[in-house]
């Protein structure tokens, strides 16, 4: 078995041997269900009125798009909490010694941790299937945008996990790891705001392109923009690369 998979498997199992994964998943479902129900109720109230005015509302635009936007916000807060211990705890408990003196490369260690974090988040994201499934029992809507939005969330959460793993590698304090990850993620959200204050069209589009949320919009509309996919994957690789450098540098301190 590849060393990356050995680490990934152990870390993934670790979330489920303790209460962490269950508590997080449970609360995530609770929160998302509450939010989804509120959006749905508001939609049900307003929809007949709009119909009378001759402007039909689609479930996709008025329920699922804001719902996935909410998921995005919750992930932004939740994922750093899931990833903060991946390296920080190893350093604090001195188990990093084991990894550093085993026949492993820094790349294998980082890849293992990243894959484990990613799969835990994807496991939790799988619960999002509940909402379109239940809704489809009593209504019709376009399934395409739901699938692309889920793909977008899967990619976006990969970026959050990569940032979280990187933040965790910087410190042995989990609170610092959490906060660094949270701020970095948030910064990539709001980096696009700079485009409003820019004059040149080029600089505006650069900042827009850098923002992680601006790309997510396309996914909820049912589009798979290749440049967005490339952007997310690049960010994941970039932060994993930085983490690899940090882990490797421990040898030289």
């Amino acid at each position: 078995m590849s060393k990356t998979l050995i680490i990934a498997k152990k870390e993934y199992k670790n979330y489920f041997t303790g209460p962490v994964a269950y508590v997080v998943t449970g609360l995530f479902v609770f929160l998302m269900s509450w939010m989804f129900f509120q959006i749905l109720a508001a939609f049900a109230q307003r929809s007949p009125m709009m119909m009378m005015q001759g402007r039909g509302m689609s479930l996709n635009d008025y329920v699922f798009t804001p719902h996935f936007g909410n998921v995005n916000v919750v992930l932004l807060i939740m994922i750093p909490a899931l990833t903060m211990r991946l390296f920080a705890e190893e350093k604090k408990n001195r188990t990093m010694d084991l990894l550093m003196t085993s026949p492993l490369t820094a790349t294998q260690i980082v890849a293992g941790k990243f894959v484990a974090g990613l799969f835990v988040v994807w496991t939790i994201l799988a619960t999002l299937g509940i909402y379109p499934l239940v809704t489809s029992l009593f209504s019709h809507f376009d399934k395409g945008p739901i699938l692309t939005a889920l793909l977008g969330l899967a990619l976006l959460s990969g970026v959050y996990v990569a940032i979280g793993v990187f933040a965790s590698s910087l410190t042995e304090n989990v609170i610092i790891a959490y906060f660094v990850a949270f701020v970095l993620e948030l910064f990539f959200w709001v980096i696009g705001w700079a485009s409003a204050s820019m004059d040149g069209a080029t600089s505006q589009s650069v900042f827009n392109y850098l923002s992680i949320v601006s790309h997510f919009g396309d996914f909820t509309k049912g589009m798979i923009d290749l440049s967005a996919v490339i952007y997310y994957v690049t960010l994941m690789f970039f932060f994993c690369f930085l983490t690899q450098r940090v882990v490797e540098s421990a040898r030289w301190r």
Binding site: M1, K3, I6, I7, K10, N14, T17, G18, N93, R94, T95, M96, D97, L98, L99, M100, T101, S102, P103, L104, T105, R251, W252, R253
Partner: protein
Amino acid sequence: MIEISQLTKRYGPIAAIKNLNFSVKKGEIVGFLGPNGAGKTTTMKIITGFMAPSSGLVKVGGFDVFDNPIEVKKRIGYLPETPPVYYDMRVKDYLEYVARLKGLGSVDVNKGVAKSIDRANIGAVQNRLIGNLSKGFRQRVGIAQALVHNPDVLILDEPTVGLDPKQVIEIRNLIKELAGEHTVILSTHILPEVTATCQRIIIINRGEIAAEDTLEGLSRRMSDTRRVTIRVRRGDGLDSLRTIKGVKNVTKGTQPHTYEVELDKNDDSNEALAEAVVKSGAGLMELRSMDASLEDIFLKLTTTDHAQGASKVAEA
């Protein structure tokens, strides 16, 4: 098996170790001895590839630690000062994980885990969470972890810390058993441990090797005199002992009615000494040889006042 030449590690301007040179042959048990902060752990971490040195060369089993870290790490079992155990894992699962990390195939994993559990004598706790174990058991899990892939070289940083006396003896016996098949470097500041397990001793002080020899060799080198303690029932007039052949000096001991007699190293004059005491009518209670203990050697080599003396000894 292990060759170290001109090894230096600096932390900023401070040199933790300076120009270390030594080698360890296959199957040897070498004790690494020194006061706190002498550079024992730093040296061990460099040998394991955990840390890179500022300069110098380390070879394990013919592989350079820096050019070929993966090959070296396959051959090394390392027990750091704090056993690298996950508190939320069960002992057996943990050992299986370590075995896989070290690159064992699935058949070897089971064999290796079973053997290391047996060797470290932790069969009774193999299904318990490591976090719930006592410090001694955790330490033994740490030892099992170092043994699990049956490495050629074992590097043990203070392996008996936190164990009860019976466990200490077990672990020392285990380490002795490993000799021949495995090469062992163990660090400690518990002196009897070295006496009990090691064939060769390297005393390191302030990042430099203060002495390197077998235990007997060190004791021999340290003194050309032998000390004998005498305890009598009464009397003070034992100055007459000075006249016996081979006796160099007689001083009063710290306890009442005790004397410390210094003798020529090779002159076995205990008999004459005993006879003289009995004849003097002081009432001989005890006559005990005081070999220069490792403690004496250690203190002599590592105390600042004797720094000069130590370097002379190292030259001799």
